[in-house]
């Protein structure tokens, strides 16, 4: 379709630096990126855990008690601590990312991303309180 630029007429001996397996340790930002991506393991695991929890509720009080005991075991607590940290990390990295997919205008001015992120954070707080309220109402 479009116009080509001529390839070199003699092959150049180009140097290509190999990428190390540890590339993600090269810059702090890369490391943070990898951590952010790995939070998804906990997200997936917790989704499945919730499925199991629902199933336990369906199976009756004993089944649910067993499930709750499992969560209270040291392993269960350990998992929850990690999962909680991962989930929060996911949340605080997610909203700034979402902001980039939204163009909002008020009059001629574009709403700054930080405002959109802030609104998400506020929404997060509200939603959390509502969920907690409903769960705890019983």
């Amino acid at each position: 379709m479009s116009n080509p630029s001529l390839a070199p007429t003699r092959e150049l001996k180009l140097y290509r630096r190999p990428i190390s397996f540890w590339w993600w340790l090269d810059r702090p930002a890369y490391f943070k990126f990898v951590v952010r991506e790995l939070t998804c393991l906990f997200v997936g695991a917790f989704a499945i855990l919730t499925l199991l929890q629902v199933r336990a509720v369906g199976e009756g009080p004993e089944a649910y008690a067993a499930f709750a005991a499992m969560l209270a075991s040291p392993a269960g607590i350990g998992f929850s601590v990690l999962a909680f940290l991962a989930a929060v990390y996911h949340t605080v990295t997610w909203f700034p990312a979402v902001q980039t997919t939204i163009v909002l205008r008020v009059g001629e001015q574009r709403v700054p991303g930080s405002v959109i992120t802030g609104a998400h954070m506020a929404g997060w707080l509200v939603v959390s309180v509502v969920v907690a309220y409903i769960v705890l109402r019983g």
Partner: protein
């Protein structure tokens, strides 16, 4: 003697060596200089064989991108005073690109990628027939203006790990430029551009590392452009699924 600073310059002479080595030069620590001035001092006064690209010296031609202490920088826009004179500054070619010579990278792949995303106005009547401009309000201009500021300096490419891992990835600047045209009220080529970009090497290879935006010297925000692009494509997809009769 006046204060000096050491530059450790990556040298690669393909005729005589198989991989780059660092060579040290002592240059004046001139408070009015940018890194590029220091390199030119080396070239003019010490070693005429040190090779790098530059032209405008005012941050607009996009030629002088290099790694300085591991960070991709537009060397004509970074003052020497950003660095501590007691420590050397390591100058290397932009990473993730094949090196032709010393600090010169091979960026031909970018030009190919750029052509592939069709960075021009697509509509039937672009050729001027009469002297009347297409109308475009300031708000419509603002919708794409930021993404049109790209100087093709390749700094974002050398910050994006996906480029390192998958060199075929279209990459931040080229996608941002495609999006620049998509968002231009005069353009009707979104569909055509999507043909090239709806692929793993196109849009979807980007995993939103976001470094491209952080290092961009011209505030182009390529990461944002790509995110918007994905969002647009996903909404179009959903629309066409939910309202198969409603898409134009």
């Amino acid at each position: 003697m006046a204060e000096t600073i050491r530059l450790e310059v990556s040298r690669y002479r393909p005729e005589v060596e198989s991989e780059p080595t660092l060579q040290s030069y002592e240059v004046p620590y001139n408070k009015d200089w940018v890194i590029l001035d220091a390199l030119n001092y080396v070239k003019n006064q010490i070693d005429g064989s040190v090779t790098f690209r530059w032209s405008c010296r005012m941050g607009v031609c996009g030629s002088c991108g290099m790694m300085a202490n591991g960070e991709p920088k537009l060397t004509c826009a970074v003052p020497l005073t950003d660095y501590d004179p007691t420590q050397p500054i390591r100058i290397e070619p932009l990473q993730f690109f094949p090196v032709v010579r010393d600090l010169v990278i091979d960026m031909s792949s970018f030009l190919e990628k750029l052509s592939n995303v069709k960075p021009w106005i697509i509509r039937d009547d672009v050729e001027a027939t009469e002297a009347v401009e297409f109308r475009q309000t300031p708000v419509e201009l603002d919708a794409y203006k930021q993404f049109s500021m790209c100087i093709n300096c390749m700094i974002c490419y050398s910050a994006c790990p996906v480029i390192g891992l998958e060199p075929e990835f279209t990459g931040p600047a080229a996608i941002a430029l495609a999006q620049r045209y998509n968002l231009d009220s005069r353009d009707k080529g979104k569909e055509e551009r999507m043909d090239a970009l709806d692929a793993h090497e196109g849009l979807w290879g980007c995993t939103f590392v976001g470094e491209c935006t952080k290092v961009c010297p011209k505030n182009v925000d390529p990461a944002g452009a790509i995110q918007l692009y994905k969002m647009g494509s996903a909404t179009d997809y959903l629309k066409s699924m939910l309202l198969p009769w409603g898409t134009k």
